[in-house]
């Protein structure tokens, strides 16, 4: 029998603004994605030099997760194997794939090559927080709240995980959106498809 799980935190990065739990944390209009993400990183007082080396997909997912978890997640409550990550997007790592391809005309860039897979963003998040739980990255035409809800619930139901970060992290050029949820076994907002939709469309569509 299915148990009830809860959305304990949410973070959305889109249209040059960052919302956490529906509250605007940071906004800087008119900047390209690359500069916006660096500006947000500095503004939030984060200190993780590897951030600068990441591609935009990893920066977006890493920054979103950082803010999703900040003051909302007690890492000590879970073993590393108990927190998982399930993400999705439309264009995989195509943004970086094309930039890497350009470098192959001269000398290919190793630093770009390492980001030519979408699940690298999960690796960056896992390294930062020492997560070792189940993880997956799915490619969909559009964000599929029902699939994410069902898949994550399955992982939690089968006691594979105790907590899960899930959502959508998409980048192609200057078109982007990160939508991240933290799901745990205690909370107040039920982890339902309806609630996921509600939060997804809450901040800047």
């Amino acid at each position: 029998m299915s148990k009830e799980y809860y959305i304990t935190s949410s973070c959305t990065i889109s249209n040059n603004s960052i919302h956490k739990n529906g509250v605007l944390l940071f906004e800087e209009k008119g900047k390209e994605l690359n500069n916006f993400l660096i500006s947000a990183y500095k503004n939030m007082g984060l200190n993780y030099p590897k951030f600068y080396k990441m591609d935009n997909l990893s920066r977006l997912g890493w920054l979103g997760t950082e803010l999703l978890l900040k003051d909302s997640f007690n890492k000590d409550s879970y073993r590393p194997e108990e927190t998982g990550i399930v993400l999705s997007n439309r264009n995989s790592s195509f943004d970086t794939d094309t930039r890497y391809f350009e470098t192959t005309r001269a000398i290919p860039s190793p630093a770009l090559f390492v980001y030519t897979l979408p699940n690298i963003v999960i690796g960056e998040i896992s390294i930062r927080h020492n997560f070792k739980g189940e993880h997956a990255f799915f490619i969909f035409e559009d964000f599929d709240a029902a699939f994410i809800q069902e898949y994550v619930e399955g992982l939690l139901n089968n006691s594979i995980l105790e907590a899960c970060i899930c959502g959508w992290v998409e980048v192609l050029g200057n078109e982007y959106k990160a939508f991240l949820l933290l799901v745990e076994k205690k909370g107040s907002m039920a982890f339902t498809t309806e609630n996921i939709h509600k939060i997804y469309y809450q901040n800047n569509g």
């Binding site: 030099p49 001269a106 000398i107 190793p110 630093a111």
Partner: protein
């Protein structure tokens, strides 16, 4: 060596590091500048792009990339002749 430091910072995207803050003899990896294996590959690309030097023996890497000084010495010794 000042030029080389600027090239390292640019190639490795070290946005928090000022070229002048890198010591000539400071280790580039581990406890020093904290570079990783991908950075090592980028340094090999830098040698190739900027100085037309190909690191033929991978085992030389740790010695060549120990510090800015060892890199500069390697470049000086292996710079293709313009004559």
């Amino acid at each position: 060596m000042a030029d080389l430091k600027e090239q390292i910072v640019a190639q490795l995207n070290l946005q928090d590091v000022k070229p002048q803050d890198i010591g000539n003899d400071e280790p580039l990896f581990k406890d020093g500048l904290g570079l990783d294996s991908i950075d090592a590959l980028e340094l090999i690309v830098l040698l190739q792009q900027e100085y037309k030097i190909k690191l033929s023996n991978a085992e030389e890497g740790p010695k060549v990339f120990h510090s800015v000084r060892t890199m500069a010495e390697y470049i000086t010794a292996h710079q293709p002749s313009n004559a």
